[in-house]
Homo-oligomer: 224 residues x 2
């Protein structure tokens, strides 16, 4: 197994801990080589049965970005109806303009038909294709962070709007809209924590031992 | 935004490129502090609407590990019926004993009810809770890699078997069974590539520009 020095290990944790969802970008183009490295990081994510279900639609055309922002804004307004009072006001302040501002938008898709009818592992748990795609997106996020490039993941949209705008076949899932760009407003804490929408939970209560809900840590059998 | 030195950036890519799915482990206990750091990395994954849907059941009890391995083995045999000839033989060689060997198994769960009825973003795309959990698992994988600890993600099982064994409530999803441990057989390439089950795809054909299937890269509007 590849050894990591202490400094290398800390660099991995630095990416994990400082990664943020960003919604404001500068109008400054991204180097092609950095974009390539970010996509290559995505492509080296784990995937169920090694199916590699992802594709990447790179969107830099203004008209297309405007249409995506329109779809997200429409969904945002529709969703706002479910929030009332203070939460509604906060919700309406959350921006989707990042989709227009960012020099590059990437639609990450998931093709459930890749690898044929009986993909190893996906046969038992079909949603593992989506989860593989999510791992690819997390790799993109950490790689972007290491490249000094900010990333946002937008999940306000109706999938069929995105299919229509990007000409995506009906069996392909438009899993995520990703904004990439430089920023001068990188949040220290998650935006939703700063605006008091949600707080980070304590970690200890999330952990159980041997069965759900059990807080008692017993000695491992190999140590008995 | 936090600057990464070239060395720090390379360390992040080292984790991304050398991460492997491992199925053979040594009978050697893991340091509690490393396990804590790996779980804390998971807990710092992005989550839709900051819902943090995950819990972690840490399994070190031999009886419980044996039951999980039984459930995985049962599913593996059932699935083998779908593969014929050479593929069946290869399939039957794929091991699930990692679940018994590894000193620690972690069942990562996803609670779709966390954050209430209208989690931001999940209102539009319900499976974003699972995808958040997958991001947490990818963080665990990269953190393990940086810690010199091998990890395997098992997805051969019926979820209700795992609910029964670990006493998980019906509304909670047992998203993944993770094996963690030291190993002396760390694969250089993905196991499924080595056994000629699947090959890594070329990256270039996975990338489109502005619409699905379009290979022509046009100048971005901001550069026009």
């Amino acid at each position: 197994m590849n050894k990591f020095t202490d400094a290398e290990r800390e660099a991995v944790y630095k990416a994990i801990y400082t990664r943020r969802d960003v919604r404001s970008f500068l109008d400054k183009p991204l180097p092609d080589e950095a974009v390539f490295r970010i996509l290559n990081a995505a492509h080296h994510a784990p995937s169920v049965g090694f199916m590699q279900p992802w594709n990447f639609i790179l969107i830099n055309h203004k008209d297309v970005k405007d249409k995506l922002a329109w779809a997200a804004e429409k969904e945002r307004k529709a969703l706002a109806i479910h929030y009332e009072g203070e939460r509604e006001t906060k919700f309406l302040e959350l921006k989707v303009e990042g989709l227009k501002e960012a020099p590059l938008t990437i639609c990450v898709t998931c093709d459930p038909t890749k690898g044929g009818s009986h993909v190893l592992g996906r046969n038992s748990i079909p949603e593992t294709d989506m989860m593989s795609t999510a791992c690819a997106i997390q790799n993109m996020w950490l790689a972007s962070c290491a490249e000094g490039i900010a990333m946002g993941w937008v999940s306000f949209y109706k999938k069929n709007d995105i299919r229509d705008i990007l000409d995506i076949p009906p069996h392909i899932d438009p899993t995520a809209l990703i904004s990439l760009g430089y920023t001068d407003t990188y949040p220290e804490k998650p935006i939703l924590e700063t605006v008091n929408w949600e707080q980070r939970q304590e970690m200890e209560p999330l952990i159980f031992h041997n069965t759900w809900g059990n807080k008692e840590k017993t000695a491992s059998s190999s140590q008995e």
